[in-house]
């Protein structure tokens, strides 16, 4: 479904990504895990075609989008929704207009159909009745739900999440993770970038650990726990500790 082959990226003379090769299967929840500044969000922007890699290929459903013009990326991009780290909601619009944005700009639905679709999505993300509220009046957790609702508005096959639980309290974090799981159960492929180990372990089918722009290891949680790589062992240190406590 998503295939990154030897992708490298430099920005302002600094290496952001170095020879990243990654494969994500249809329907899975893939986690890209790593410390802040490791290049995780850059991978999402490259998958979405917002950034172009300097070298390497980016295949989305078999089509290489690296180096093709913006116009040709659009049909591929319309299969992907994204939830930005800081939500990137349009703050001059209310909840309904944010969620309806894509539909109004690009779909052939009439306004009545769009309203119905928005109501259905808002109900799914548990935000019924918030249609007319401006997004800056919402709490952090609610904003994240609106961002997820906006990403779901056009039924994308792939949803990209950039640090979906960062800055949220544990209860809101859990409800957002539950929501991501529900979205995945509807058949969407999910790619989640996070530095929060618990999130990664609780919902990830596969984990890819990156550091300093390089892919360190890809595998399941079990693969990570059995890893010989020192960085992976350091990153999963908490889990080893918990396991040791559990044994005691």
């Amino acid at each position: 479904m998503i295939n990154l082959s030897h992708v490298s990226l430099e920005l302002a003379g600094k290496t952001i990504l170095s020879d990243i090769s990654l494969s994500i299967k249809k329907g899975e929840i893939a986690i890209i895990l790593g410390p802040s500044g490791a290049g995780k969000s850059s991978i999402l922007k490259i998958i979405l075609g917002l950034w172009r890699p300097d070298t390497g290929k980016v295949f989305i459903e078999g089509k290489n989008i690296a180096g093709i013009p913006e116009k040709e990326i659009m049909p591929v991009r319309s299969k992907m929704g994204i939830v930005f780290q800081a939500n990137a909601l349009f703050d001059s619009l209310n909840v309904e207009d944010n969620v309806a944005f894509f539909l109004r700009e690009h779909s052939k639905l009439n306004s009545k159909e769009i309203r119905a679709k928005v109501a259905e999505i808002l109900s799914f993300v548990n935000l019924k009745g918030t249609e007319k509220i401006y997004v800056d009046q919402l709490s952090g957790g609610m904003k994240k739900r609106v961002a997820i609702a906006r990403a779901l508005s056009f039924d994308p096959e792939i949803i990209l999440y950039d640090e979906p639980t960062t800055g949220l309290d544990p209860i809101n974090s859990k409800s957002i993770l539950d929501l991501i799981k529900q979205v995945s159960d509807r058949g969407a492929t999910s790619v989640i970038v996070t530095h929060i180990l618990n999130d990664a372990i609780s919902i990830g089918d596969t984990l890819s650990v990156i550091n300093d722009g390089s892919l360190i290891q890809t595998g399941t949680v079990r693969d990570m726990l059995n890893s010989e790589n020192q960085f992976v062992r350091d990153f999963f240190y908490e889990v080893y500790q918990d396991a040791a406590l559990f044994k005691k």
């Binding site: 780290q85 800081a86 990137a88 909601l89």
Partner: protein, 255 residues
């Protein structure tokens, strides 16, 4: 030396990015009607809300022009020429320039700070991610709104300047209103009005596009936003003065 070379390289790169933005803008003009509602909204903010500053700017420039020239011309017994000086000065030069500078500050700061904040909060990336061109959605409506609104605003500055000049000439210099009007209208040529009214279109285009470019180029946080807003206002104001010089020296002399 390396620092100067790097700075020069960045300026050239910036010019290239600005030119590419203009190319996209011209390409997108064929479908500008899609963003007509946004353009009307911008017309309100850029145009209608700028009415009062432009009116006041015109009034005070007209008063100062009438007083300063009136006192000087009085030494030569030619104070009846005040009307001519005020009308020519306002229509050909000061009306468009004062409006241009006020709008460079107002519209320039508005565009750069709005688009810069959208850039920082990833809203521009979100537009692109949802298949919408930021040029089409944000730059074209602002530029069309500026092109439509700058001319009437300039006319307001011209008229208010001439009327305030007339009132102050009557009250302070004891120049009869009919003398003032006769002098003001008889000296005006068609090419004066043409040059005075063509300037706002060029000012509008460059103020709008330069400030939008600086908004898009914002990288980092609030400090960067402050810097790009300053740059937008400074370069928009400078382009007003440069264009005014070009129109006065080249275009008016060619006509």
């Amino acid at each position: 030396m390396t620092g100067i070379a790097h700075s020069f390289k960045l300026k050239i790169y910036g010019l290239q990015e600005y030119t590419l933005m203009l190319v996209d803008l011209f390409k997108g003009l064929s479908t500008f009607w899609k963003t007509w509602a946004d353009a009307v909204n911008e017309m309100y903010w850029i145009g209608a809300r700028a009415f009062m500053p432009v009116l006041l700017g015109g009034i005070f420039v007209g008063i100062i022009l009438a007083l300063e020239t009136g006192h000087q011309l009085d030494h030569f017994g030619a104070k009846t020429l005040v009307g001519r000086t005020v009308s020519l000065g306002m229509i050909r030069e000061l009306g468009p320039v004062i409006t241009g500078l006020l709008l460079a500050a107002r519209t320039g700061a508005k565009n750069a700070s709005e688009l810069g904040a959208m850039q920082i909060s990833e809203q521009i990336d979100a537009l692109r991610a949802f298949g919408t061109s930021p040029i089409q959605k944000l730059v074209i409506p602002r530029t069309i709104a500026a092109l439509v609104m700058f001319l009437p605003l300039t006319a307001i500055a011209d008229i208010s300047g001439i009327l305030s000049g007339m009132i102050v000439s009557k009250l302070s210099l004891s120049i009869d209103t009919s003398f003032f009007w006769h002098s003001a209208l008889s000296s005006l040529l068609m090419k004066d009005i043409f040059v005075g009214f063509i300037k706002p279109f060029f000012f509008a285009f460059f103020i709008s596009t330069i400030s939008c470019y600086y908004g898009f180029s914002t990288r980092g946080g609030t400090v960067a936003l402050g810097k790009t807003t300053i740059n937008a206002v400074v370069y928009s104001s400078l382009i007003v003065l440069v264009l005014d010089f070009i129109f006065t020296k080249v275009v008016w002399e060619l006509l």
